[in-house]
Amino acid sequence: MTGEAIVFYLLAAVTLGSGVMVVTSSNIVHAAAALVPAFLGVTGLYILLNAEFVAGIQVLIYAGAITVLILFAIMLTEGGTGLGTRQRNEQAAVGTAVAAAMAALLIAVAVRTGWAPPPAGAVLPSYTPGAIGQSFLRQNILVFEGTSIVLLVSLMGAILIARRED
């Protein structure tokens, strides 16, 4: 087993282990805290996939901002661990079956499809932030501008919705 494979299995175990904790923990603060190792495991997978810039953004936005935002939402609503309240609805059995069926379906498709091997002798280009920025400002300019409008509108909408009405 190569070093890359060992690192991959380690990162997958961290990601999925914390993911299980996120979805099963009856203490919602623990569930929110377990999001951090899950996101950091995904970050490691990005680095294994030569996507260092995406990995950096993942740490900044997911592990940093979104986790803190979720913790704030927990504190601003009930403000507790939620241990005294039932956290799961009556559909636990059906939900487990649906999630397991979905996982089985996706894994079957991924394993049974004959993916074309990567082009032989192809050298991976260096996905530098500069190259990604050039790509955003050339071929993907429309998507880039559209995303910035969506970002602006959603942040204004979030302020408007969460604001206390006087």
Partner: protein
């Protein structure tokens, strides 16, 4: 030898975990956590396909960055909605928010 399939299987399992949270959790904040896990699974797929299927292009990573941006928007608006619902209905449990149910 590590291949595309390894990453796709991890992403499939992460997606199923997120789906499980969305279907069975009662607290709307934990439902949003499940949505975040599902978006992460989709991002792993995009970046993995970028490396293994079209290494010369950069579209997979560009898409992953856009999905991360939209996930941040989704979290902000979603949590604002949770706060607004909590302020008017005094609950964050989705099975108790049923005033529009016939």
């Amino acid at each position: 030898m590590l291949g595309l399939t390894h990453y796709l299987v991890v992403a499939a399992l992460l997606f199923a975990l997120g789906l499980f949270a969305v279907v069975t959790r009662r607290n709307s904040v934990t439902i949003l956590m499940g949505v975040e896990l599902m978006l992460n699974a989709a991002n792993i797929n995009l970046v993995a396909f970028n490396k293994y299927a079209a290494p010369a292009a950069m579209q997979g990573q560009v898409f992953a960055l856009i999905v991360i941006t939209l996930a941040a928007c989704e979290a902000a608006v979603g949590l604002a909605l949770v706060l607004a619902a909590y302020r008017t209905l005094e609950t964050v449990y989705v099975d108790e928010i049923n005033i529009m149910k016939w």
